[in-house]
């Protein structure tokens, strides 16, 4: 593997790591229970699946409230400002370079801990999939109030379910790709280790 000298960098703070892993667990659990409610398979039984799904959903909402607060108070939200710079280089790297041990086009620092593709992907999860799944989910949860609130004139459960399912599939695709891409560090488990300990091993900057 790489013969370069490695240097350790503290990139993922304690809150971030707790957030990440509990979110990961909740999302996987929501996918499992959600697709059971949807009718794709049977495991817990419909009633339990619905209850678990609802509890997990509210837990994730709570987690997001904290996460949003954290990102804005720490300024970490800037990590997700999208950039197109080097996106082509990243794509080229994953398509070709990675197979021939070419150098990674992105060098991680504490101020830029996500590569440009990551930024775009995570921003998409947080600004598109997230809201889509939350709003459709809330419409679902508050279905019993639709009539009293007059929403039944504008909403149809069929469409709410349709978009909720689309968002769920998108989350599933993200999950598969995301988990795979964690293995593309300098060792297959390097990124996962970093997400647990907070310390990422990066190639040492070449001194002038």
């Amino acid at each position: 593997m790489s013969a370069h000298a490695m240097q350790k960098l503290y990139v993922f703070k304690i809150f971030e790591r707790i957030w990440h892993w509990s979110q990961a667990g909740l999302i996987i659990f929501l996918l499992i229970t959600g697709f059971e409610v949807h009718g794709s398979y049977a495991n817990f039984g419909f009633e339990k699946a619905v209850n678990y799904h609802t509890i997990a959903a509210w837990s994730l909402v709570g987690l997001w409230v904290f996460a949003i607060f954290w990102h804005f108070t720490t300024g970490e939200w800037k990590q997700y400002i999208p950039t197109l710079a080097k996106v082509d280089a990243m794509a080229k790297y994953y398509l070709f370079g990675i197979f021939v041990n070419a150098p990674h086009p992105f060098r991680l620092t504490t101020l830029k801990k996500h590569n440009p593709l990551q930024r775009l992907a995570y921003l998409g999860v947080m600004l598109f999939i997230g809201p889509l799944i939350w709003f459709t989910g809330w419409f679902y949860i508050f279905f019993d109030k639709w009539h009293a609130w007059g929403w039944d004139k504008y909403l149809s459960l069929e469409w709410v379910a349709f978009f909720h399912t689309i968002a769920a599939f998108m989350m599933l695709l993200f999950l598969i790709a995301h988990v795979y891409l964690t293995t593309t560090g300098h060792t297959p488990l390097a990124h996962i280790k970093a997400m647990i300990t907070g310390w990422e091993e990066v190639e040492a900057e070449e001194k002038k």
Partner: protein
């Protein structure tokens, strides 16, 4: 000797008073009680003891005489009754001006009352209805108070007597050798009280010609039901009477199949407060969000009637009639006698010469439909559907009208006579009056031509003389016999591909409905992504090793 009798009676009275929680019905068990003035064994909940009223201490000879006595105090009672369907047997549906009521509707059980009143009016709250067209609907003394207010259980109106009880011992049914005793009018009159499951049930449990025949959710098992059968009427529990829900004012009883409340929107309302809602709806007590422990269930109440989940089956205590084919009626034994063929259960007939073929079923899973409370009947003169099935009654309702909920129904199917030329349902003259010789009654002579001719004449309808039998169905919304919550439907009885609501349209149900195209695309993309990363990873490993 006489003194010992009185002493014994006093002792019996004392012991009864001591066990005051027992109903007074125990009194006749003490052999000597009759000799002494009956001491009230139990504190009356009413403030009036009718046995003390001089007006009722007469030797009544007939029902109308009793009514006259009742009306001497209850001056407005008969006037109130006169306004009700129980009396008029007629009701005009304001939605479509259809004339309904027993006088006018045709069903697919015994079909219709016209020409059969002497028999059918044993369930009229009046005396002497021999002909619904000519009956004096203004008579106050012909109102039958006792049929609803009897508390003894001894008051009986036998079919064939035009709404009268028996005033002398008679052989009943005629030719059976059995004797029906004359009713003891003074005793019954002195014991009048509130209506009860027994009095309402005397007619409503036996609709369609026998116990449990008609409704499927109303039968004699409700006289003293256990909790499993009816949580509200549970004789050892809440012990509701019919009127607990059918809270009545001025003798006008709310909660009618002619004007069902498809979608009761009320919050629970306090009894006595003015409210235009139907008190005989679940919501009038429970409101629209009754599930406390499992709140998610409240998301169902806008679309689904309570009964759909809480009356999981009907005919749970005894079988109800599900089909009736009149076209086979009239087959006789070789020596020309009426025959009855019992069904597999042995408790019911599957064939009876006077009525045709039947089927009975127990624990029936209802059919389901959107109901908004509007109903249209196929009445005399309305065309039947000779190609398919004629709906005797058709309930309105749709997922989009905002006034409907999904309701459970008993759908009763049959075949009955119609006129080949007028295409109208026909009314057969079936039953004959007690002791009468009447050659046209089908149940006496098994001749369709004569029976249909007489029926049509009584109903005032033309009859071409040519008839056949047409398939009909009639829907009965199921609402009684509410099961304990543990027996209510579970989620997956509907939230499944082939669940109970499989045929219900206009509502999205998770696990029953999913967009098939979206699922295919979604799973294909997921599989492609997985395949993509596996190939990518495989290549990396392979090339990495090589390098």
């Amino acid at each position: 000797m006489r003194i010992t009798h009185i002493l014994l009676a006093a002792l019996a009275g004392l012991s009864l008073a001591a066990g005051a929680s027992e109903p007074p019905a125990a009194a006749p068990a003490a052999p000597a009680a009759a000799a002494a003035p009956a001491a009230p064994a139990k504190m009356l909940s009413s403030t009036a003891d009718h046995s003390k009223f001089k007006e009722l201490q007469q030797s009544f000879k007939s029902g109308p005489e009793v009514t006259k006595a009742c009306l001497s105090c209850h001056t407005e009672a008969a006037k109130q009754i006169h306004k009700t369907k129980h009396w008029t047997w007629e009701w005009v549906n304001p939605e479509n001006n259809q004339k309904l009521g027993k006088k006018n509707v045709i069903n697919n059980f015994c079909t219709a009352t016209a020409s059969n009143e002497k028999f059918c009016s044993s369930c009229h709250v009046g005396y002497g209805m021999e002909n619904a067209k000519t009956f004096d609907y203004t008579s106050e003394t012909n109102v039958d108070c006792l049929v609803c207010h009897d508390t003894t259980g001894a008051y009986k109106k036998l079919p064939g007597l035009a709404g009268h009880p028996t005033y002398k011992d008679i052989e009943f049914p005629p030719g059976s050798g059995k004797i029906a005793k004359a009713v003891d009018l003074p005793k019954i009159a002195q014991a009048v009280g509130k209506t009860s499951r027994d009095t309402c049930g005397a007619c409503h449990f036996f609709g369609g010609g026998g116990d449990a025949v008609k409704h499927g959710d109303l039968d004699s098992s409700l006289k003293k039901p256990a909790k499993y059968l009816d949580v509200h009427m549970d004789a050892k529990g809440l012990n509701f009477s019919c009127a607990t829900c059918h809270a009545t004012q001025g003798h006008n009883i709310p909660g009618s199949r002619y004007t069902p409340t498809g979608k009761a929107e009320d919050a629970a309302h306090m009894r006595g407060k003015e409210n235009k809602g139907n008190p005989a709806s679940c919501q009038s007590c429970h409101g629209s969000a009754p599930h406390k422990a499992k709140e998610r269930l409240n998301s169902h109440t806008d679309k689904i009637a309570c009964q759909t989940c809480h009356v999981p089956q009907f005919a749970r205590a005894q079988p109800t009639k599900m089909t009736w084919d009149w076209s086979t009626a009239g087959k006789l034994t070789p020596d020309g006698k009426r025959m009855k063929i019992p069904d597999a259960s042995g408790h019911h007939d599957k064939y009876d010469s006077i009525k045709g073929n039947f089927t009975y079923e127990s624990d029936v899973v209802p059919e389901y439909a959107w109901l908004n409370g509007k109903v249209k009947y196929t009445l005399l003169g309305d065309p039947v559907n000779t190609q398919g099935v004629t709906k005797i009654n058709e309930y309105g309702g749709s997922p989009t009208d905002g006034q409907s909920r999904i309701w459970p129904l008993k759908v009763f199917r049959g075949k009955q006579p119609y006129d080949l030329e007028t295409k109208s349902l026909l009314v057969p003259h079936t039953a004959v009056g007690y002791g009468e010789k009447d050659d046209s009654g089908f149940w006496a002579n098994y001749k369709w031509d004569a029976a249909l001719k007489a029926g049509a004449a009584a109903a005032g309808q033309p009859f071409s003389g040519k008839f056949d039998f047409v398939s009909t169905e009639m829907s009965w919304p199921i609402t009684h016999m509410v099961a304990p919550k543990a027996d209510a439907l579970t989620c997956t009885q509907c939230h499944a591909k082939n669940g109970r609501l499989a045929s219900i349209k206009g509502v999205y149900m998770p696990r029953r409905d999913a967009n098939g195209m979206l699922d295919i695309i979604g799973w294909l993309l997921a599989a492609a992504t997985l395949a993509g990363v596996l190939i990518h990873g495989g290549l990396r490993t392979y090339l990495g090793r090589k390098g």
